[in-house]
Point group: C2
Chain length 130, copies 2
């Protein structure tokens, strides 16, 4: 298979600017942010409502794609483990999954809480939570 | 941002060969299958154990990337909705999330249950479930 190319559908605006300040994952975050979806993808948002939890896929553009073992949660006292057994951002395809609570939605922007990624992280997908 | 390219880390072997036979999602599936991870990514699996639920990201290579509205669950009696408010395979970046139960693991293959994608679907990531 030819390697597929991802389309960036939008970008996250938030207040986390350093990796050291990022929560380990959405379930440990009370940070808020804005999902700005590019106008050409606006129609895909119809049906998303305030109060709903959505699953957002981000492309972690600063992550290391070359390593396959990490110390879980960056804790060097813990044994190395395969990246696929963790939630580490480092992995061959650095896609993050965050479950975010919709606080408000207006045209092509969605205000959310639970943010655990850096300001300016590209958004690649949004799904209904099952 | 330049459009990132995905690396295929493996492939799903299963018994679903027609879209019409695929369960709507993992939570409605009792199908089993084998995740074959390519040898160069083998080290990334260390730490995955039998009995664990893993989150697997697939690239739905047959999905339509051009449409932004769908009838939920393919039911034409339901109003059109934005793809980002659904779990439709059709979306700009057709990535599926499945939560699969590990039945067995041996070197670079993982036997799983809960499969909801077609035989030969490319695998792009595996994560620990939170």
């Amino acid at each position: 298979m030819e390697e597929p190319r991802l389309h960036c559908i939008g970008i996250l605006h938030g207040d986390i600017t350093r990796l050291a300040d990022a929560p380990k994952n959405f379930s440990e975050s009370n940070r808020t942010g804005i999902l700005e979806i590019y106008p050409k993808y606006r129609d895909g948002l119809d049906g998303i409502t305030k109060g709903q939890t959505i699953v957002v896929l981000f492309w972690l553009h600063k992550a290391d794609r070359s390593i396959l073992k990490v110390h879980p949660r960056g804790d060097s006292s813990r044994e190395l483990r395969g990246v696929f057994a963790t939630r580490s951002p480092a992995r061959p395809n650095p896609i993050a999954l965050s479950e975010l609570l919709v606080q408000a939605i207006d045209e092509n922007t969605i205000a959310v809480s639970g943010v655990d990624v850096l300001d300016n992280t590209p958004i690649i997908d949004i799904k209904k939570k099952i």
